[in-house]
């Protein structure tokens, strides 16, 4: 994608009155890498803190993608080593299939190089910018090259590649490329990749931190184990919650309604098909012979029309005809949602709440791109009661930490009226209370608002699906809260009665000599019977509320009874409460031992 840029001539005292010729001397190609080097904020490298997060994010996303594609349960190791005040060394290691030697330099040294851009398949990465941009940022800020160690199989030696990037040519420069059999111990499974980037950064805990990102990654990827060594040399392990890999998403062809006229013309130019009928049925999904006939007829052509004869005007007719024709929505087996069960498992291990509910919407389509929305909520327990709810946003299992308010999912949460479900909600805002809302969008193409992939663009179709999913979870929460309130009321009632009947029995004994014990027992029996009656009240939908209630049989709901009465924990999700810390610390000890052993091997 060469771009031209007009250089303004140097200012003189008088105007230079440049001619086309003089101007032409300043006009030349600029490489993509150069462009992004200057506009690094577009990729999420605006400031040192965010840059470090983005670098880790890109590397972890790539690792997870690689592992899943290779059918391997991901085991990710992230280490942030502080070298000096503002300099860090990031190391990210996975147990993926590894990268063949020849491709390493392209993948890590070239912008817009990758396997994911040219296909319509659900994956974390999309454009092939991320990791090479991270390396470029490191090189620019510290001058240090990127070090990649990769091993593709048990019998194959690991090789270490040291890369520098030539920004003006968008080409990698390999500094050294050696086989390092001694590095084999890095990869316990016999394969994997490790990237080390040295860069200028800033480490800070709290919101939008590396810790938060990894925690949320663990929620959305319950099939992965993430080990994180912080700059303070603490080891935090986010353990695997489910042992199955998500299904592999299928690659799909574009849907006729999902393309624009320009794309259509481009596809017509590039197609291997020779006739229109073949073009429509082979290069698109959901178009059979009948539909192809309908489209071509609508455009005043036939399936036998030669592609060569289709000019601009014909293409336009074709485009119009496609818009008018009813075409089935794209197949959705290309989408692999996390699934309610795994979602709950992920949330359960990272969020200290008492009530969990999840909802997975059926797939839907925006602009011809299939997508699917999943929502999970956690309520109560150790979550903070005073703040507003926390919204965790995900796209294709990747946590989104920045630009919250411009994100479609955030808007959907704010638009849902949570008051119906027993929560308080300020006007035009997200609800308040001990609530965590997780919104996940999976799609073959997630419409981000920018290249740095921070927020999902606001499509009506997407927002509607999000709201429907949120409402479904909200209803379950409402049922639960009402039930909890009623239970509290009933137990309160019973305890009140029990308190007073003792007094009454004694009074009656003193007044008319009635047997205190006998009277007490009779009254207690009555109190129990009366409160039991109330327990079995009909709920608001006219169904009998039994012991577990309707929620008891719901697979998408988890109620952690022992969490109900635990004290509120200070910012339990992100701030690392005391309780959690201690838990982690015990884990840390165990982990340390294992890493040591590994080192000795």
């Amino acid at each position: 994608m060469p771009k031209t840029k007009i250089k303004t001539p140097k200012k003189k005292k008088t105007r230079s009155n440049a001619t086309a010729e003089t101007m032409a001397t300043g006009q030349r190609d600029i490489s993509v890498s150069e462009f992004f080097a200057k506009n690094r904020h577009l990729l999420g490298f605006d400031n040192p803190r965010k840059a470090m997060l983005t670098a880790i994010k890109e590397a972890v996303d790539n690792s997870l993608d690689a592992c899943e594609e290779g059918g391997i349960l991901p085991d990710i190791y992230v280490r942030v080593l502080q070298i000096s005040e503002s300099r860090f060394k990031l190391t990210i290691r996975d147990n993926g299939p590894g990268i063949v030697k020849a491709q390493i330099e392209n993948i890590f040294g070239k912008l817009l190089y990758g396997s994911k851009f040219h296909r319509l398949k659900m994956s974390r990465g999309q454009q092939g910018i991320g990791i090479s941009a991270a390396g470029m940022y490191g090189l620019m800020t510290t001058g240090k090259p990127v070090v990649i160690i990769s091993k593709t199989g048990k019998r194959k030696p690991s090789h270490e590649v040291v890369l520098k990037m030539d920004t003006s040519k968008n080409r990698p420069t390999v500094i050294s490329d050696e086989e390092h059999p001694e590095d084999d111990t890095l990869f316990a499974d016999g394969h994997g990749t490790q990237v080390s980037i040295e860069l200028e950064g800033k480490y800070q805990k709290g919101r939008q931190s590396i810790d938060e990102y990894l925690e949320q990654t663990a929620i959305a990827n319950p099939h992965a184990t993430v080990t994180y060594v912080t700059p303070t040399n603490e080891t935090i392990v986010f353990p695997r919650a489910i042992q199955e890999l998500p299904e592999e998403p299928k690659e799909i062809k574009p849907h006729p309604k999902g393309i624009e006229l320009g794309t259509l013309i481009q596809m017509l130019e590039r197609t291997e098909q020779r006739q229109l009928g073949g073009f429509l049925t082979k290069d698109f999904c959901r178009v059979g012979a009948t539909k192809a006939r309908e489209i071509t007829k609508g455009a005043g052509m036939t399936g036998q029309t030669w592609i060569k004869t289709v000019g601009h005007a014909e293409a336009e007719n074709l485009y119009e005809s496609i818009q008018k024709t009813r075409i089935i929505a794209p197949s959705t087996d290309c989408l692999v949602p996390i699934g309610s069960k795994a979602l709950l498992a992920g949330l359960l291990k990272e969020v200290k709440a008492e009530f969990f509910a999840a909802s997975t919407r059926p797939p839907s389509v925006y602009r011809g791109n299939p997508f699917q929305i999943e929502v999970a909520i956690g309520y109560g327990g150790g979550l903070s009661r005073d703040d507003s709810a926390k919204v965790l946003r995900f796209a294709n299992r990747v946590p989104l930490l920045y630009s919250q308010s411009s994100c479609c999912s955030f808007k959907a949460v704010a638009e849902t009226s949570w008051k119906n479900y027993g929560l308080t909600q300020p006007r035009n805002s997200i609800p308040s209370g001990p609530l965590v809302v997780m919104v996940h969008m999976v799609s073959v193409w997630v419409p981000f608002t920018s290249e740095s992939k921070e927020a999902i663009a606001d499509y009506d179709e997407i927002r509607k699906e999000m709201k429907l999913a949120l409402q479904e979870c909200g209803r379950k929460l409402g049922t639960y809260l009402r039930r909890r309130k009623r239970m509290a009321r009933e137990s309160e009632r019973r305890s009140v009665f029990e308190r007073y009947i003792g007094e009454i029995s004694r009074c009656c004994n003193s007044l008319v000599g009635a047997d205190t014990d006998k009277l007490y027992k009779a009254l207690l029996k009555q109190a129990k019977r009366r409160t039991d009656e109330a327990d079995a009240q009909l709920d608001d939908e006219g169904q009998l509320v039994d012991d577990n209630g309707r929620l008891g049989n719901d697979d998408d709901v988890i109620i952690v009874d022992e969490m109900r009465d635990i004290p509120e924990q200070e910012d339990s999700l992100f701030g690392n409460s005391d309780k959690k810390k201690s838990k982690k610390k015990t884990k840390k000890k165990v982990k340390k031992k294992t890493t040591k052993k590994r080192g000795k091997k």
Binding site: E492, F497, E503, C508, L511, V512, A514, A522, K525
Partner: protein, 392 residues
């Protein structure tokens, strides 16, 4: 000397006690037995209901304006037939149910011990922490006071019959001698403080001995009463002077009622010209909503309202300084009072309240002091009495 004195005192005390018992017990015994029986039957019904697995309940006549009836013939407020059920297994009533029984037991114990207690005493008598909890049976005296009133109405027994009395309030002075608990009290020699009207003025405790007074003047507050007493108004005009510290307590009202009924003394009220004063008059005359069940023993339908009148501002040419602006609450209250059935048909009262509302201000009795310190005792009241200028 000292020894002798103490001896004397002791003997005196014992005689006193004997005297009271003699006077009181004859009448009391019957009443006490009846009250005791009522309390016990309440408990019995609760026990039988509980043992047969029915909800323990008891009925309380409703003490609200909706259950009040104005008896036009008797010209007093009476309680209607409505009752409310208090049940144990109702979250809002459970605690009150327990408290009612506690206090009922307390009253029974008092009757057995032949002693009386103040409202505050009753609060302490029922007060303890419920075993196994941190909850107290009563949070404050207000709670036990309300329950006692409930008990009174539901047992159809007066507070006195339950051996409970309120804190005394109100003073009296005048041409009368009474016997209070066996002691003779000459109300002509009460100094500047006056005789404190006891809270129980039932015939078994209080008897009238010698009365030369022609009428009773009841004033609203202690301050006004002091003015009248200092000026020896009761001596000059041969009357009894009483005061109820605002809304008169039961003792004062019962005293007024008995003097009115038994000694045939007319009652004149000197109250502030504001809705509060008008309401005090209404309570003296017709009875109060809360104690409607006792109206017959307390209300004085013939009581007259002597002042302050709303026209007094013009009539007496008072200065502007005495005006106190009516606030919104005063105005709504005045309208409510004007709509009471016993004021509704009285044109003079309607005019009085209307004038006050038109004036837009209220006046206190003390405002007459701006004319002269003793204007109220020397000019105002004598003039009104002479002219017969009062509201009925």
């Amino acid at each position: 000397m000292a020894k002798k004195k103490t001896n004397k005192k002791v003997t005196k005390k014992t005689t006193k006690k004997k005297a009271t018992r003699k006077v009181g017990s004859a009448v009391d015994k019957k009443r006490d037995d009846l009250t005791k029986k009522k309390i016990e039957s309440l408990a019995t019904s609760i026990v039988t209901r509980s043992l047969s697995q029915k909800e323990p309940t008891f009925e309380i006549p409703t003490r609200s304006i909706s259950n009040m009836k104005y008896n036009k013939k008797k010209r007093i407020l009476e309680m209607g037939p409505n009752t409310q059920t208090r049940s144990l297994f109702n979250l809002g009533q459970s605690r009150k149910f327990m408290q009612s029984l506690l206090l009922a037991k307390g009253c029974r114990d008092l009757i057995d011990a032949e002693k009386t207690l103040s409202l505050r005493g009753m609060y302490y008598m029922g007060l303890h922490t419920i075993p196994g909890t941190k909850e107290k049976t009563f949070n404050d005296q207000g709670e036990s006071d309300g329950i006692l009133e409930d008990l009174e109405v539901s047992l159809d027994g007066l507070r006195e019959e339950l051996h409970v009395f309120a804190k005394k309030r109100g003073t009296m002075v005048g041409n009368i001698t009474v016997v209070d608990n066996g002691d003779e009290i000459n109300c002509r020699q009460m100094g500047s403080g006056g005789y404190a009207i006891p809270s129980i003025c039932e015939p078994n405790v209080m008897q009238f001995k010698k009365c030369e007074a022609d009428f009773i003047l009841h004033v609203e507050k202690d301050t006004v009463w002091s003015r009248f007493n200092e000026d020896r108004f009761w001596e000059k005009h041969n009357c009894i002077l009483t005061e109820g510290s605002g809304q008169p307590p039961r003792g004062v009202r019962r005293m007024l009622h008995r003097m009115h009924k038994e000694l045939k003394l007319p009652v004149y009220c000197l109250l502030d010209c504001d809705p509060w004063g008008h309401y005090i008059y209404s309570v003296i005359k017709q009875g109060s909503i809360n104690l409607a069940f006792e109206s017959e023993r307390m209300a004085i339908p013939d009581a007259k309202f002597l002042g302050i009148r709303s026209k007094d501002y013009d009539r007496l040419d008072l200065s502007d300084d005495v005006k106190i602006e009516l606030n919104d609450r005063d105005i709504t209250r005045a309208k409510q009072i004007a709509a009471y059935p016993w004021f509704e048909g009285k044109r003079e009262w309607q005019r009085e309240i209307k004038t006050m509302l038109n004036n837009g201000f209220k006046m206190e009795v003390e405002s007459l002091i701006t004319k002269d310190i003793s204007y109220v005792t020397e000019e105002y009241v004598p003039a009104r009495l002479k002219e017969g200028d009062f509201l009925d």
